[in-house]
């Protein structure tokens, strides 16, 4: 949802990571939605029983040996055919307790083979505002898959060319026992599409994401064999990578990892080498029109080399926005959740013709969005650059350190990323203008999340495979908006300090592993010392709703109703005629709370005065004035009248 208001003010909805774009779209839509009705959930009921028993953790959390799936990649880019000729040595180390008679490979680019693939049917050929060009498709073909030591060919004889996941049976004698490793010699060809859904080519610009055959994840007793869906991202093990990237010498390159030298070849190409440890993916970009600016920054006690790759056409005056946002994100997130573990981070700003490549996270590399120049520097008041930069960098923690399954439990990474974005933004700007700050037009990023949530995802479960949501809008609203508000509600409910400490414990416990929502719940319960099933079962796993309202208030008595089905502990603030205030706590277990003021001097009653219940659908009926003055509304009327008069005068030409 992060995308409607933004559309008005930025003139272009461009946040690739659904949030901003969806907000813009929703705000546009709401003009035609006013007649829509939502089934009332106002029933006084007991809390919903747990939808299902809490799943068990797969393994005992602890220090993991990180390198499960490691790759030595060689890629030759052909700018004429837009193809990558690739070879790789892939090492898979079986750290599971099971013997594996087969492996599975992910062939993501095949989603773009034509308009009939499963991915394309699900997306109707459109993704974040860009359309698939069937004349410029993408695909990946495997030319060789051999066991490296014996040279034995294990490439299946028959492969569905449109499949995004491939089963590779191993010879019976070569099944991978626990603790053993398998080393593969692989060759393939990747055709990059016209820039679409994070990857591709636009002119001589190249963004290569999900461009090589990737090992699937074996977790909790099974391979992740799910095909790639339109409303889904990725899931991978960690490993050590090297990349030798061969491109024309005029190209400026960037990639996951640390630069490890270049070699100029006699054929007019240059081989750029990169390496990285403990990463779950490698992406690269190349373009002759990049300018590169590097800067070391200090973040949470560490030094990180920031490398900005931006179009030469982008004003250098905009660079600082990216650097400042990146430094603040690395510093704050490192302080809260553990330091950024890698020495370098590459910030890629694709050109506007390659919009579809922006707004995506890869290990040690994020793709961002180019700011729209506006007169008098007004574009700085639209914090799209900051929001996208911080959001993508937040993904460096989840899923790129804590590798949750982005397809099955997308809220764990997207909800966290937007929650973290709200926190960092609140450190940089006043909270009422963390998203928009144009004179009297001020909007907080929290308000953007609330907007999406209110319209689309109240009562929507968070723990749900991405492809099972009714629509892309429902998916994105749930995992981004409800997900981030869920984290923020938990923080405000249990207390900021306790919550951050518990989250830090979650990261320490699950870094380089694959936790689930249940694991998060356990970590938070352990970290806060509180039982949180009352929250997770109805609001995260289930379809519970939070809703309170002050139904009546007189000088002697106030009545508060719980009309949602989740009993949420809440504070109630009472203000008396003499200005005295008092707070009482209500556990919300009954359908109603009556408060008596024997002195007859009650002036105002307010439920949830700290806005902790951000999952409440209607926060506007949480308070009442006992004897309301007409003056505030008259002042609003006076303001509105002046605005209307100005509009009337401005509406007549000449």
């Amino acid at each position: 949802m992060i995308r409607l208001i933004l559309a008005w003010v930025s003139g272009r909805c461009r946040r690739r990571d659904e949030g901003v774009t969806r907000a813009a779209a929703l705000f546009c839509l709401l003009l035609v939605l006013t007649s829509a009705t939502v089934p009332a959930a106002a029933q006084v009921t007991a809390p919903a029983p747990p939808a299902s028993p809490l799943p068990s953790a797969s393994s005992t959390p602890g220090r993991a040996d990180v390198d499960i799936a490691s790759y030595d990649l060689n890629a030759h880019w052909d700018p004429v055919t837009n193809q990558i000729a690739g070879t790789a040595k892939i090492t898979y180390r079986n750290e599971t307790g099971d013997t594996l008679p087969e492996i599975w490979l992910k062939l993501y680019l095949n989603a773009f083979r034509d308009a009939q693939t499963q991915w394309m049917r699900e997306s109707a050929g459109s993704h974040r505002g860009t359309s698939f060009d069937p004349d410029r498709p993408g695909w990946i073909t495997l030319d060789r898959v051999r066991l490296e030591d014996t040279g034995e060919d294990v490439l299946p004889a028959s492969i569905d060319p449109a499949a995004t996941v491939l089963r590779v049976p191993l010879p019976a004698a070569r099944a991978v026992a626990p603790g053993q490793s398998l080393r593969l010699d692989v060759a393939w060809t990747s055709q990059l599409p016209r820039v679409f859904a994070r990857t591709g080519v636009a002119g001589d610009f190249v963004m290569a994401g999900q461009w090589y055959p990737k090992l699937a994840v074996y977790d909790r007793g099974a391979w992740d064999t799910e095909p790639w869906h339109a409303a889904s991202e990725f899931f991978a093990d960690f490993g050590a990578y090297t990349l030798a990237l061969n491109v024309p010498s005029s190209y400026v390159t960037g990639a996951t990892g640390t630069r490890d030298g270049t070699v100029n070849n006699p054929d007019g190409t240059t081989t750029h080498r990169f390496w990285a440890d403990s990463v779950s993916d490698v992406a690269w970009t190349a373009w002759p029109e990049y300018r590169m600016v590097s800067r070391p920054v200090h973040a949470a006690g560490h030094t990180v080399e920031l490398e900005l790759l931006a179009p030469r056409s982008m004003s250098t005056g905009q660079d600082e926005r990216f650097f400042v946002a990146a430094q603040r994100a690395l510093d704050q997130l490192g302080t809260w959740f553990g330091p950024y573990p890698w020495p370098k981070l590459t910030l890629v700003v694709p050109p506007s013709v390659a919009d579809g490549a922006g707004g995506m996270e890869y290990p040690m590399l994020v793709t961002l969005t180019e700011p729209n120049p506006a007169p008098f520097g007004l574009e700085r008041g639209v914090r799209e650059v900051e929001v996208v930069t911080i959001h993508e960098i937040a993904h460096q923690w989840v899923p790129l350190q804590v590798a949750t399954n982005e397809g099955r439990e997308a809220w764990l990474d997207e909800g966290f990323a937007d929650y973290a974005t709200m926190r960092v933004l609140a450190q940089m700007y006043p909270t009422d203008r963390t998203f928009l700050d144009l004179g009297p037009l001020r909007l907080g990023y929290e308000g953007i999340q609330r907007s999406q949530y209110i319209l689309e995802s109240v009562g929507e479960p968070l723990v749900k495979p991405s492809w099972e949501y009714d629509s892309f809008l429902a998916y994105a609203s749930a995992v981004y908006a409800k997900g981030s508000l869920t984290f923020l509600s938990l923080e405000r409910t249990v207390g900021e300090e306790r919550f951050l400490a518990a989250m830090r414990g979650y990261f320490d416990q699950w870094r380089w592993r694959h936790p689930t929502t249940a694991d998060l719940q356990r970590s938070l319960e352990a970290g806060t010392g509180s039982e949180l099933a009352w929250f997770f079962q109805p609001l995260v796993f289930g379809t519970g709703t939070v809703e309170y309202r002050v139904s009546a208030a007189t000088p002697r008595r106030a009545t508060i109703e719980r009309i949602g089905n989740v009993p949420y502990p809440v504070a109630v603030a009472l203000t008396y005629d003499d200005g005295r205030t008092e707070r009482i706590a209500w556990d919300g277990t009954g359908p109603m709370l009556t408060i008596d003021a024997p002195d007859g001097n009650l002036r105002r009653v307010q439920v949830d005065p700290d806005d902790a219940m951000l999952l409440e659908a209607n926060m506007l009926d949480d308070g009442r004035e006992v004897q309301p003055s007409p003056v505030p509304l008259l002042a609003v009327a006076a303001r509105l009248l002046g605005l209307v008069q100005a509009a009337l005068l401005a509406g007549v030409v000449g």
């Binding site: 209110i454 309301p628 008069q645 009337l648």
Partner: protein, 322 residues
């Protein structure tokens, strides 16, 4: 007429224009506020709608209303903004088209009397009026307030239809220029930078607006009821260097007033009577200044028309050849 007298005169002429905005603006405002009262009558947040975070609250209110379905308050606000406000705007076009003729006739009469009067206007006033034209403006120059009022209304009626046609055609021209200017600004923005692109668009729109205003003045000054002919003559007036400078300079206060209206300062305490009065006086002050600025612009347009004639001996006859 002295400058002080002219200011007084334009202030008086701005009054009916201001009152029409007040009257027409009050209709959607009243309905919307009644709807808001139904939604927020005793809710503590209602005073925050004037605070610095008003947009955050407005979005929350709007989306909560959308999700909650069709309450009476929501329906009234929707009615006010989607139907009554556009209707008020259309009514304002009609009202301005009606008043502009009377205002221009009155200003033309002043011009004939005062030291700032253009020679061409004096000559023109001595000629026989063209059919349907205002003639000498003798009515509005007469000393009796009652007679002046009657003459003002006669002039309003006389020029209503040509003025209304000009309003509609002028709006089309302006919107076309706005779209074209936006496209051009977007195209050249990458080359010249956003500030220059914005300035170019601003200048273009200011000049087009001035052209339409000059046309309105030409109609009354020349007794020209044909909008097409008046537009052509107005273009020749507006294309003069002095006119270009005048329209650009006048665009600045007009834009400043518009900005002042849509970016009002937040009151220190909207819940107090003092806060209410501050908001009310600010809004109405800006609205009256806006109306007065329109009258001042018509005054300038009239004098630019007169100036064009002085430079072209033969006055109106010189235009007719065009």
């Amino acid at each position: 007429m002295t400058v002080r007298g002219l200011i007084g005169r334009t202030l008086r002429l701005a009054l009916p224009l201001y009152l029409t905005t007040l009257l027409l603006g009050a209709i959607p405002t009243t309905v919307a506020m009644y709807g808001l009262w139904l939604l927020a009558g005793d809710r503590p947040w209602r005073g925050d709608l004037l605070g610095p975070g008003w947009l955050n609250l407005a979005v929350e209110v709007l989306l909560t209303a959308v999700r909650g379905g069709g309450s009476a308050g929501t329906a009234l606000i929707w009615l006010a903004l989607s139907l009554l406000l556009p209707l008020a705007l259309l009514a304002q076009v009609v009202a301005y088209s009606f008043l502009a003729g009377g205002i221009l006739e009155a200003l033309r009469g002043d011009a004939l009397r005062g030291p700032l009067a253009g020679e061409a206007l004096r000559r023109d006033a001595s000629r026989t009026p063209m059919p349907g034209a205002a003639g000498t403006g003798a009515g509005v120059l007469s000393g009796s307030p009652t007679a002046a009022r009657a003459a003002f209304l006669r002039a309003c009626r006389r020029w209503f239809w040509p003025s209304f046609r000009l309003s509609l055609l002028g709006a089309s021209i302006f919107l076309t220029a706005l779209v074209a200017g936006s496209v051009v600004a977007a195209l050249v923005g990458g080359l010249v930078g956003p500030n220059v692109a914005f300035a170019l668009q601003f200048i273009m729109q200011a000049l087009v607006w001035g052209w339409i205003e000059a046309t309105r003045a030409v109609m009354v000054a020349d007794g020209q009821r044909s909008v097409g002919t008046a537009l052509w003559r107005g273009l020749r007036v507006a294309a003069r260097p002095l006119s270009l400078v005048a329209w650009l300079l006048l665009a600045l206060p007009s834009s400043a007033l518009l900005l002042a209206a849509i970016m009002p300062p937040a009151p220190s305490d909207a819940a107090s009577v003092g806060g209410l009065l501050t908001v009310l006086l600010y809004g109405q002050g800006v609205a009256f200044l806006g109306a007065w600025t329109r009258v001042v612009r018509l005054t300038v347009a009239l004098r630019l028309v007169a100036g064009a004639r002085v430079r072209q001996p033969g006055g109106a006859a010189a235009f007719s050849g065009g």
